[in-house]
Subunit: 368 residues, 2 copies
């Protein structure tokens, strides 16, 4: 069926020339085994629901009023969690909104932005939205980032770590080297999946998050999200950590787009999640354990699985093309993500689910 | 105390040159009589809390998953309410986010944007954010909009109706004339306060909202919000209504900034509010009645009160300057808004509150 041509007569050139981001689909079927958008298989902390219910209980005095524009309580909780000052913390409507403000605040400059050629597919979209010249640096053949490849004039660098969709981790040593080498560029480490990562056994660092380097560098910004490790994709809360002057730029940019991006319930829920450290650590560990067992099972089936530090794995089927495997799984109600993109078209990105979901996946793959 | 100079070394020129919007303050004190940010004195519909609680009850399956990116249920409810198709409805994270996307989609063009010189103070901020040339057209001496003043080349026109902070209403006849006269420009009618408006007694129109003109014009966009008449400032939901091609541009722009701006709870709560028509109409009428009685009381005290169609009044004290009155009220815990801006510095904008709040205000003014 041919689609009616859109009338773009009244659109700005900006609107005409966009190629918007395409999120992973959110099909609404029963008995679906949804392993395509890296959602957490476990529910959020019970404290989240309790905190939101408490707000609703006095809703007459709450929802009718504007929320705290700078989400003070949430920023204070995040600052305490990471040993930072509140002024080093910014929050937004999901890390996607935070990243949009990052592009506008730090990358709209004379020199290009550098990013890996295979990474979060929203980066090229932001570059187009904000008129940023993006140079994509090829990953090595094993999909790793070589920080030496970034030694060229740039206004900024953005690297997802662990990277998506590969799941590979860049070491803190490499990040230190990268940030040191570019004192006049803002280096953004997008840590959407960092809570599922572990330091290499031979590493001198115990930490994996670049938040540990923030007090050392004024040009390092770290972004994170509540959508993955905190099981709150439905609540839309993302954050950035960095030097106070970087945070101030983001705050000014936010207040030139939309002053109140986090509603009262999202602020209350996310704060409760941050304060419940025990549940957070338990569920992250459970996801990691499930990832290791899924990796073992897929390897036994002849899949090549990259060593993942995220809540998904990136795996290549032994034979046949990945696209066909994805289609065959879909017929059985199992949705995984396939990227029709050079270099990675032979791979599938599979979100870590429950043990039962993994069993269903493995059973289906065995008889393909 | 001198403020430490911010280090803007790593900021984009865009970030350096912004003059962000300054929202009305949200002081956190007990026994405050807060009449400064046009929040509704009544709570939202009880259905809102019930709908959100229902989502939380099955939270394990809900908050961990991404929300519907295009807020389908909410858009369907709004479409039905206004006799439109869902494809003629857009929603965003408060009408502030909707307006930001409107500026990027329709006003980033060769010709300037026209807006009244006295209007919502976020418009000049957006113009700066998106590099839009804004020409401010002077209101008449009585603060009314004369649509004949807009007969000049432009890429777009934006008018708040009722206007803020004056509260004055532009008739549908005038809007029809304006939209007809500019077929190649997008005309945005920002109806944040329209649900408190009434048609003039001598008007042929019964309707006051320009939504009634949408099927007639492809260049008309109407924005509204749940923050005022639906008592949901804390939930951050705004909307736009227009021709499907205008809505498609907004959707593409949204998906180039942030794909999921409305969280699951905001979608559920706003949908429940839209469906509860009875409560909505009751509370709007109550606010209108309170506005009329406050107008009567202030007039009796010698205040000049503009005829308001909003949930605030714009009033000039009989003697003494408005700024001094605002300060004196503040000392008694009563917060109203004063704009230190030419032509309106003698006025106060006072949000419609409860009868008790009005009594406290009037009692305080009597002894000033």
């Amino acid at each position: 069926m041919e689609r009616a041509k859109t009338d773009t007569r009244l659109w700005s050139n900006k609107a005409k020339n966009l190629s918007p981001y395409v999120p992973g689909e959110q099909p609404q079927h029963d008995n679906l085994c949804k392993l395509n958008t890296n959602e957490n298989p476990f529910p959020p902390s019970a404290k989240v629901g309790e905190a939101i219910t408490a707000v609703l209980a006095k809703q007459a005095d709450e929802l009718r009023l504007y929320p705290a524009p700078e989400s003070d309580d949430l920023r204070a909780a995040l600052a305490q969690l990471h040993g930072l000052d509140s002024q080093q913390v910014f929050v937004g409507n999901g890390s996607d909104e935070v990243l949009a403000l990052v592009f506008a605040s730090f990358f709209m400059k004379e020199h290009p932005l550098l990013a890996p050629d295979i990474s979060y597919s929203f980066y090229p979209v932001y570059a187009q939205t904000f008129g940023v010249d993006l140079i994509q640096i090829a990953l090595a053949d094993n999909f790793s980032v070589d920080v030496n490849d970034y030694n060229q004039p740039c206004s900024g660098i953005i690297i997802a770590n662990p990277n998506a969709p590969t799941g590979l981790l860049l070491s803190l040593t490499d990040i230190h080297k990268l940030v040191s080498a570019h004192p006049d560029a803002v280096v953004v480490i997008d840590e959407a999946y960092i809570d599922f990562a572990y330091a290499a056994k031979d590493s001198l660092d115990k930490a994996v998050s670049a938040i540990s380097l923030i007090n050392e560098f004024d040009n390092l910004l770290v972004t994170q999200t509540c959508s993955k490790s905190r099981s709150l994709a439905g609540l839309r809360v993302g954050m950035a950590f960095g030097n106070t002057s970087l945070i101030e730029a983001l705050t000014r940019m936010k207040n030139s787009f939309n002053s109140y991006p986090l509603d009262k319930l999202a602020q209350a829920g996310a704060t409760a999640s941050v304060l419940d450290k025990t549940y957070f650590e338990q569920t992250c560990q459970q996801v990691i354990d499930l990832r290791e067992s899924l990796t073992t099972d897929l390897t036994a089936l002849g899949y090549q699985v990259l060593p993942s530090h995220a809540n998904f794995i990136f795996a290549r089927p032994k034979k046949g093309d990945a696209s066909a495997v994805a289609s065959a799984l879909r017929e059985q109600g199992i949705i995984v993500r396939h990227f029709n993109q050079p270099r990675i078209e032979e791979y599938l990105r599979i979100t870590i689910g429950t043990a039962a979901q993994h069993q269903r996946l493995i059973d289906a793959l065995k008889v393909l």
